[in-house]
């Protein structure tokens, strides 16, 4: 299908009040089940989960849209703990 999605570009138009240092999601970096990792990577609308060239899992909380999909799918597996960012931080929809 023509047109590979560029998620970074889409996130670029959004307003975020980023909490640079504290991640509201704690990911289990030692988790190795490839199938589970793959489904979480594909479900995340913000493409915050990715694999680098060495197939190492990379997670970036910046850009998270706080939907909760990774929590519902994989809490207790790939997702160690999930919370909303502290008050006033994270995504801020101007239009919604």
């Amino acid at each position: 299908m023509a047109g590979k999605v560029n998620v970074a570009e889409k996130l670029g138009v959004n307003k975020f009040n980023t909490d640079e240092h504290n991640s509201h999601i704690d990911v289990n970096k030692d988790y190795t089940d490839k199938k589970e990792i793959d489904r979480v990577i594909r479900v995340c609308p913000a493409a915050t989960y990715s694999l680098d060239e060495n197939e190492t899992l990379f997670f970036e909380h910046l850009g998270c849209l706080e939907c909760g999909s990774c929590k519902v799918l994989s809490e207790g597996k790939l997702v160690k703990s999930w919370n909303y960012p502290v008050g006033a931080h994270g995504i801020e929809y101007r239009l919604g």
Partner: protein, 390 residues
């Protein structure tokens, strides 16, 4: 040690929470609403159209002053992926389950409703996340935010679909993967004139459009706003295993569909958003109340996907209203026990909400079976009859 005390504390400044705040304040109840976003609506997105009937009960003629986008006059329902077949009909006829409806953008709409609640005397605090509940012997008596504790006779949890606080209570609020639907949306800016032309509408009138089965595991939706189009996809989380595609790519594919692309061509991306939708299945309903606590809106999974339309906002508003009425009654009796608050469940059962939820699953399944090769209009009419809508 408690810092402050209120009659009622509401967690979440979405439509359910704000409606409760409005109704309670208007009745002279001392109410505090806590919202983690910097303003009400900052964390919220929807399709979406708001059926006006439930808010109308709370604020008569609200459509005259509220920030609404367009009044829905035209409904479309489609099936098919390679080739999309579409049924179009007038909103006032066949499918008017809840009367008038309008497209809304939550960033604007929730802020307006928050202003109305404040005018009634509700106290609203923004930019604060509630971290936990104060509980004594299974009775909720307040909230904890950071290192502050605030007490109240009763707490209304209107904290949305991922109700973390409901989970802390041990309530089965969390949607399971098979009951949670992910919605991913783009808001695309286009001039009013171009939208009018492309959708064959005029003035402030608009289109609501649901596209069933337009991808391997996803459905599509399109709503016209004043000078933007809301376009998105929805998929049940569990279905990620039935596809190799990613959720953001699904929306891209939908937008690139030859029958859809011309509608958004030349538009400018204004915002990209994602949110879960609770989809109650097999009569699943989480706990609605307990000692000193009530759950309203998405936090209680009160959201009905009927296939040809989606109703969460009017249910959130109605449940917010009913929760507030229950609190007013309990305050009158000075009894916030589980037995006293059971009134809320009765009120929900006597409202349109439970009927709507009951017919949703059946209706959704039937709309997926509408056969456009035979007599689609008749088939569609049958869907509604079977689902108890007509």
């Amino acid at each position: 040690m408690s810092d402050e005390r209120f009659d009622c504390i509401i967690v979440g400044g979405g439509l359910a929470g704000l409606t409760s705040a409005y109704v309670l304040a208007a009745a002279g109840i001392e109410v505090l609403l806590i919202e983690k976003g910097n303003y009400s609506g900052a964390k919220n997105m929807t399709g979406g159209r708001l059926y006006s009937h439930s808010l109308e009960k709370v604020i008569a003629n609200f459509a005259e002053t509220a920030p609404l986008e367009r009044k829905i006059v035209k409904e479309r329902f489609s099936r098919g992926s390679a080739e999309i077949l579409t049924l179009e009909y007038d909103s006032s006829g066949l499918l008017a389950p809840a009367g008038e409806s309008y497209t809304v953008l939550r960033g604007k709409f929730d802020r307006w409703l928050a202003d109305q609640a404040e005018e009634q005397g509700a106290m609203l605090v923004h930019g604060v996340r509630v971290d936990n509940l104060l509980i004594d012997d299974h009775k909720v008596y307040g909230v904890i935010a950071g290192d502050e504790e605030m007490e109240a006779d009763v707490v209304i949890l209107a904290d949305g679909v991922n109700s973390l606080l409901g989970q802390k209570l041990g309530y089965k609020t969390m949607p399971l993967a098979k009951q949670a639907v992910l919605g991913v949306k783009e808001l695309i800016g286009l001039s009013e004139k171009i939208i009018d032309q492309r959708f064959n509408i005029t003035d402030d009138s608009g289109v609501a459009w649901m596209l069933s089965g337009c991808g391997d595991v996803y459905d599509g939706f399109i709503y016209t706003n004043k000078d933007s189009i809301s376009i998105g996809i929805t998929m049940t989380l569990d279905d990620i295993d039935k596809t190799g595609n990613s959720a953001p790519q699904m929306l891209e594919d939908f937008k690139n569909h030859p029958q859809i692309a011309p509608l958004v061509a030349g538009g400018r991306l204004l915002e990209y958003s994602a949110h879960l939708i609770p989809e109650s299945k097999e009569n699943y309903l989480p706990q609605l109340y307990g000692a000193g606590v009530l759950l309203a809106g998405d936090a209680a999974a009160l959201c009905a996907n009927l296939g040809f339309t989606l109703r969460g906002m009017d249910l959130a508003i109605e449940s917010g209203l009913l929760a507030a009425q229950t609190v007013i009654m309990a305050k009158h009796e000075n009894d916030f026990s589980t037995q006293s608050l059971a009134l809320y469940k009765k009120k929900l059962e006597n409202s349109f909400i439970m009927n709507c939820l009951k017919s949703a699953e059946n209706c959704r399944n039937l709309t997926r079976e509408v056969d456009f090769n035979s007599d689609p209009l008749n088939a569609f009419n049958n869907v509604l009859k079977n689902a108890g809508i007509k």
